[in-house]
Symmetry: D2
Subunit: 364 residues, 4 copies
């Protein structure tokens, strides 16, 4: 079960289980000289924290981040930054009865088959709680990107078939964080919230689509062939639990297009080479072209639902039925937004370091 490290020069390693004593991350490769304190991390952790609205899980976690290393006198030193978050509101009682009956749509069965032994409490390592480390590390990545005037912002663009109208980047800034579904189209946001209420009351859940945009990425980021920026983003984003697809720019829409529609016209604006449209999503041949980098992920409905489901009892090898009682989000997209932003930020910092855009030793 190697596989808990991500990145080449800017490299994070996450650890921890849903119902263990803590979760955390070690960030290796952060340059020296960046102002950093617990509050920088906390701000992002608070965005993914559960229990904040009635549309998310009712597990109550403070998610208090403690920086254990790598920071001295308020600045990073270049040494690895270890961040610890204690688990507080752990209730494993609901899981005891699910030990032998893998939940459909969950990793219970695959972990059991792979490892032959697993921490069944709250999903163990496969829980969404694993993303705490990603978001904490993403907070550091975002600070580095901010030095280079790059911002990463995400929003929900579709949920259970309800589509947000197309929005400008300003509208995302303005509106996305103002409603619990993180949709930048206020009207669609209301509908989406209603949809979430409805599926929850049915004991069900619902999927959706999240878009992440990186603004200010310079041209030239990404390496050809296997380490394309797009491939790195795909890797990072699909590594998030519940993500079943990713697309860049026009994405699956490009399958319907002709070359004359898809190709972004190249022009000169303000003395700079630019493209008129951005079907490429800011990436051509795997390398950023200076336009906003645009990606979207397909998020499946939460597999934990209280409706009765058919499964098997692995011990007795007989069919069984379960109703899942734990505390779960009825819809993941709103809470996955900061996680997806984190992954995009992590990929960008790593690729920019590899390309010489960000100094690996020190800032400034």
């Amino acid at each position: 079960m190697s596989g808990n490290t991500f990145g080449t020069l800017f490299r994070i390693t996450t650890w921890g289980e849903s119902h263990g004593c803590a979760v955390g991350v070690v960030i290796d490769g952060c340059p020296a000289g960046i102002p950093l304190d617990d509050a920088d991390i906390q701000k992002e952790l608070d965005r993914r924290r559960p229990g904040q609205s009635e549309i998310s899980t009712q597990r109550r976690e403070e998610d208090r981040a403690e920086i254990l290393s790598g920071v001295f006198s308020g600045n990073t030193t270049g040494a690895p930054i270890s961040i610890l978050v204690r688990n507080k509101d752990v209730d494993s009682s609901k899981y005891e009865e699910l030990r032998n009956t893998p939940r459909p749509g969950h990793a219970d069965l695959t972990y059991e088959l792979k490892y032959g032994f697993r921490d069944w409490r709250g999903g163990g390592r496969s829980s969404a709680r694993e993303t705490v480390g990603r978001v904490a590390a993403g907070a550091v990545a975002k600070k580095i990107l901010a030095i280079h005037d790059i911002e990463v912002l995400g929003h929900v663009v579709e949920l259970g078939g309800i589509r947000a109208k197309p929005v400008s980047i300003d509208e995302i800034y303005e509106n996305a964080e103002k409603n619990p579904v993180r949709c930048a189209d206020p009207e669609a946001a209301v509908e989406m919230a209603a949809m979430i209420h409805a599926v929850r009351s049915e004991g069900d859940s619902i999927g959706g689509i999240v878009e992440v945009i990186a603004i200010g990425v310079p041209a030239g980021v990404g390496d050809p062939v296997f380490d394309k920026l797009s491939a790195g983003l795909a890797h990072g984003l699909v590594s998030i639990g519940a993500v079943k697809g990713v697309e860049i720019g026009a994405g699956f829409g490009s399958a319907l297009m002709k070359g004359s529609q898809m190709n972004d016209t190249i022009a000169i604006r303000d003395g700079k080479i630019t493209t008129i449209t951005n079907n490429a999503g800011g990436i051509l041949g795997g390398i950023s072209n200076g336009e906003p980098v645009v990606c979207r992920i397909a998020v499946k409905p939460t597999p934990s639902i209280s409706k009765e489901q058919h499964t098997v009892d692995m011990r007795n090898m007989e069919e069984a039925r379960i109703k899942i009682k734990g505390r779960h989000d009825p819809s993941i997209p709103p809470r996955i937004v900061p996680v997806a932003e984190a992954m995009v930020a992590l990929v960008l910092v790593d690729m920019m370091m590899r390309g010489g855009f960000i100094n690996t030793s020190r800032t400034g």
Copy 2:
């Protein structure tokens, strides 16, 4: 421009430019004792070779593979397998005039911005000719998978809005290679071919969707968190030029679903734990569950079109118009099928080696 190596334990490195003297690949990590000769490689190269039908580019390449190392007495030795393919039918004359006017939708501009100097002949390193190395390596990966009774097969499921009807795996085997579009639905295949003819006659091109299925993958392949099998597939598939999206199982369709629809019911069939449906695409929590692994890629329309397009002259920094004259496929999906299969095979072998499913030193 590191980035030409893919994989951890089964690792390939590709090299070569479209109009250079040769292209090739080094395959490192192939176990000893596998029967291998040029014909094994050739079979797959012939599937991606240009000039085979009127719907592909008219560049004529024999694509004759020469194995330079790693094979002794007809068997692999465990040493790196170096494969060389000489470029024969090179005609750079059409590109000279495009040196300073980057083709929209191409990597010309991004390579220029990144490297400040580039091989502009035929797209240089960013040409689809780069995939020769992937396919040659994929042929070796497929031989390894075959030993473990795993098969990887791809087909075109959509092209310019024309959708193939749902097909069984038997129908893919039966029909996909029988028509030049590689569509397993014969009727849709005819429509797709007509569509390709139409766009070509307009001097245009068209996008589509390719599906790749891996049959026989045992449960337990893939590592949690960042090295999920799904994330590895996403990385590998999006690293192919022209791919703008990837999805696993229900993919973007899962965004429309409720948990009760998406979750695959777990059941016992023939004394084995299985799932009734396969919305998961054979992967849960990043780990294979024993069902077929199903992924699809969105392929954009060929950016090289003969219709006039607007671009800029980089030397004089003024706007310009171009008509691209080279020899190009009007639609990439049919020829990308063997490339996508190769990437899926490469990811599977590497992940299976990491998980101990395939011995890294010797077979049998």
Copy 3:
């Protein structure tokens, strides 16, 4: 300052500074099903712990290990194992005055030049305290090796010119841990201890040589060319602070030998192919041959000495003199033994996983 991760399939990431709040390690890639508790870690940490005898630094650390993840019901789960050790006896007062005057032989100057900002307290990240994480991870590696009947043991073979007589493996088991210098030759141990007392009373320090032997390593471990077992060991061992050289088997002695002396005669003993001598140190062509793997490291004298030394004041760019007052070991070899063992164990587990000798997912 990436560089805090070691290994490919069995991968550790260490973090923490000498005078920060804690040090620790995340171990990724440990198979599921291995019994593990704090005491397993503690046993090894206690071997490297300071303040145990009068020949080591007087810093008093309990070095209490806390396992934060990856263990459930007393067994590893395959998830990353995060281990935390709080720093207790921190006294930075002696270092304030050394902030601008880099200590000769230390990393003070190189960190300053590289990062432009550093945690100067107790050497920060470059302190020997960094090895706590290595030893904790090594304890886990040793448990894995024990399952495969492999043992790793180290001892001091030379110190300040005093050479231990050649000893058998039994004598190492018997004697090495019985004296504070960890020398398996009891008489030499007494002389070495006297030497350490002498140099300390002079305000000086002394170097030495440590040997580590791995017994029970099967034939076939290590990969050819760049990932030779010997190269991996060299990498791991030279990455330990204060190590200025490494040798395998006859090592530098082989420079004096003829082929007819160096070559180990191959013979059959008890129906098994074996070698009569072991000048190869158990490794030929980078691959283990089934004989004990033998390596030795050259350990420089502790750079922190209380004798007056010449250096520079970096702030004023003028020459300066310093006397270092902190608490330091007058000789590193005795305490480096468990660290070197840990590195050898980590390299072996990783290489054995890569070679398919150890299952990466589960034991048994």
Copy 4:
């Protein structure tokens, strides 16, 4: 048998067997814009080429390098550089009889045990012929270093107990390449040559020590903890066949020293912080300090000797005797000099790229 790739950002992959049709290397990560032609590679290949003097093997290889990719109009493009060298003077007749009787000191036995099947002709992949790829890649690395005013030069400092007198860097430049043993002390060179003649006439071989110095390395190269510059050099150098040890600066000599002797006094010279001595070998805490980087390797005697040796017949599992008849160097150190230089150059370029000292995309 993965393990044929070296480096992180500047990454080489070598391939080929001693008696196969060719050997070669792919260099990935070379920045664009560096003038490069076959002659640059040839110059270094000629230094390692066999058959040049009576003290080396009489195999006659032109070792003609052909650059197949990555260079356009005389300059690197950033794309992978594939270099091919055909094997010409192959004579496998002497090896047929050694198929089942592993040569003592060779990798025959370990490859057989690991892979169960091997190319026994001329040592196959484990032959010194594998170093052609290293040297070709090293030639490119040296060109990159030269742009940064860094030079790497090696010489033989000891051979069979004959020690060269200490020499200045100027003397190495002046003398090392003027005699077939590559010793910078002309008198010792004569003695060493005589020694080589003597052992050859006995049907024996002899070991020695090679020193490599890198001049002009800026301060700050190397990463802390596991990716120390010293650890990278140790990895790279010990990965060369026949190398049984490596040391940095005072190396094993530091085991005899007191701190007050070992510590290099820090001083100001010409307004720059420097050290008076260089026992550290230019590296402190794993990071370069701006002084020359000095390393030495222990090279074992050639295992192929014509004296009769005892071994086993693996087929019949009975003891046997062999006399090795192929063409072999009676002493490796003279010919390993360019190989060791290549490895040092490769490590430096990679580490300097990781540290931001060398741009990964383009020069200038």
